[in-house]
């Protein structure tokens, strides 16, 4: 197992290196010069050259690249090229908890709604309940997250005034306050995934209920709910976990978009501002963190597999 983890971590490092490299060169391939933009008012190109030199951006690109890699390996993500030149790690440390709060909350909401919904529609296949769940699921699937976000704001913030429309409050300011700020964006991004997971649970459960070992369990005289939860559900969960892993990663991407609607200064906000400003170190740092989360969630999925399915053992 530890050997397996080591191999996986090595793989993860390679993936993240590839991402870092790609982002590095893509950023530089995009036209636009941050320093010229900064000195636009004064119109003094000499000042721009001066700044460029200070950031090492006048070196040939490959030299910049190796310097950057060396920095990252030492755990240094550089500083923003703007204003007071805040270290990138500080910017991320500030914005990351917001994004991850949102992602985790959205995931939790999606899964806690989707699993019972999927189970119910499998158990009462073709009933009104099943059709209802299916209808809501397709509705949820067909709504873009930013649009759902706006709908929620109009209803619950502007209309009913129950929830704050925008902004973020850390968990330290109280669970209720934290939740009241995040619940709408979390529902906005979580809904399509709740729909997908519910459908997956339903079809996977129906598949499992047809198997012979479920017939065997019935022939033993076991209770219906016991068969469903103890015999069928763990088996039905195996294919669903893959989807949940992908969902977690995509939810993070969704969070990055919807943060902007709710004016939450998370990684998404940081990333978009960074791109608009051509703030290379900030964009590179933020993307590195996001890809790190992707890789990690993949690893967690594989470990979960082994926990549920005894046939899977990692060497």
């Amino acid at each position: 197992m530890s050997k397996y983890l080591l191999r996986r971590l090595l793989g993860a490092t390679v993936v993240m290196w590839a991402v870092a490299t790609l982002v590095f060169f893509m950023l530089r391939a995009v036209p636009g010069d941050p320093f010229l933009a900064m000195v636009f008012d004064t119109g003094d190109p000499a000042a721009a050259d001066e700044m460029r030199r200070a950031f090492g951006l006048d070196d040939p690109v490959y030299v910049q690249y190796f310097k950057y890699l060396l920095q990252v390996i030492q755990g240094n993500l550089g500083t923003s090229i703007y204003g007071s030149r805040v270290p990138v790690s500080t910017i991320i440390a500030e914005s990351f908890p917001r994004t991850i709060s949102l992602t985790v909350l959205a995931f939790t909401i999606a899964v806690t709604i989707a699993i019972p919904a999927g189970l119910i529609s499998a158990l009462y296949k073709y009933s009104a309940l099943d059709h209802g769940v299916t209808f809501v699921a397709f509705l949820g699937l067909s709504m873009p997250d930013f649009w759902l976000a706006i709908l929620l704001i109009i209803t619950f913030a502007a209309g009913l005034g129950w929830l704050p429309a925008i902004g973020y409050a850390p968990l330290s300011s109280g669970f209720g306050t934290w939740l009241s700020h995040l619940i709408m964006p979390a529902i906005a991004i979580g809904t399509p995934f709740a729909a997908i997971i519910a459908r997956m649970v339903r079809s996977s459960m129906l598949e499992v209920l047809k198997t012979e070992y479920i017939q065997v369990a019935r022939s033993k005289g076991l209770m219906r709910w016991y068969i469903l939860l103890q015999h069928a559900f763990p088996n039905a969960l195996i294919p669903v976990i893959t989807v949940m892993g992908i969902a977690l990663a995509l939810l993070m991407a969704g969070a990055v978009v919807v943060e902007n609607v709710f004016a939450i200064k998370g990684l998404g906000r940081v990333l978009i501002q960074g791109i608009l400003n051509r703030d290379y170190p900030v964009v590179q740092g933020a993307i590195l963190v996001v890809s790190g989360i992707f890789v990690l969630s993949n690893l967690v999925v594989d470990v979960l597999y082994a926990a549920i399915d005894p046939r899977i053992r990692y060497e």
């Binding site: 070992y213 065997v216 022939s219 033993k220 005289g221 015999h231 046939r311």
Partner: protein, 329 residues
Amino acid sequence: MSLLSVHDLELGFETPAGHVSAVNGISYTVEPGEIVAIVGESGSGKTVAAQAVLGLIPQPPGEITGGRVEFDGEDLLGFSEQQMRTIRGRRISMVFQEPMTSLNPVLSIGRQMTEAMRLHLGLTREAAEQRAVELLGLVGIADPGRRLRQYPHHLSGGMRQRVMIAIAIACEPVLIIADEPTTALDVTIQAQILALMQDLTRRLGVALVIITHNLGVVARYADRVNVMYAGRIVEQGRADSVYRRPGHPYTIGLLNSVPRLDRPRDVPIEPIPGSPPDPARLPPGCAFAPRCLHAVERCRSEVPPSISFEGGHTARCWQTAVTRPETAP
């Protein structure tokens, strides 16, 4: 009174292609401690007839349209799901055809062995595990303590079927229904498993209904035989009688299609020509008539009645009715 008696059981399935009559009025009995075989080709309705006894037919698409299933004097078809649960696994247990898929892949062998004992017998976990160890020993599995902690994928097909047998006898049922328990196994393992089932059921005094498509198996292990064709029992009687003096052309065909020890080696094995009828479109007369070499006009229009010979041996065949006139009352 018979332990189990099935009367004119009829059941079918609603499918997109129409109504499938899987079982068309079968009757048989099982006495306490007896081994009864149900023999027939694939698709003759053996499995669904057995599942109906335990109320395991999925409804819909299945529907039991007639008949009675009396077990220990009670009509099981009238039982509620809750009442059936007190029968299943406790008084009647079942061994399935496919040992590779009968065990739940994510639950340990121990868990799958003990759950029914804890439920039906009210044993504590320790007591149930203790008994599971004994049961594994009884079905010939070495190192039972270790096996209990393993998962199905650690076990071979033969061992899994032994585990299934151990589960089947765990709550000391009075009847075990084994649905082709050895079809999926290697030939050498088949004989071992059958011998084990025979030995255990005899020793524990449990009645056994053994479903098979191999009439050769029957001769060795069963007391009585029911031959099924297209959802009907076409011949029944004591195993030796059916084996020595088969009354129905289908039974004769089945006997000629399996290797036999009591015949010269050079007698060729002949499969029955043709294939069983589509249960969605059964012919009006004897369902075997289209494949039967002796069929006459009457066979194609009227379902033959049950003709009795010596010793309670019966067959449903117009021709046999002529060549072997009734001897029994």
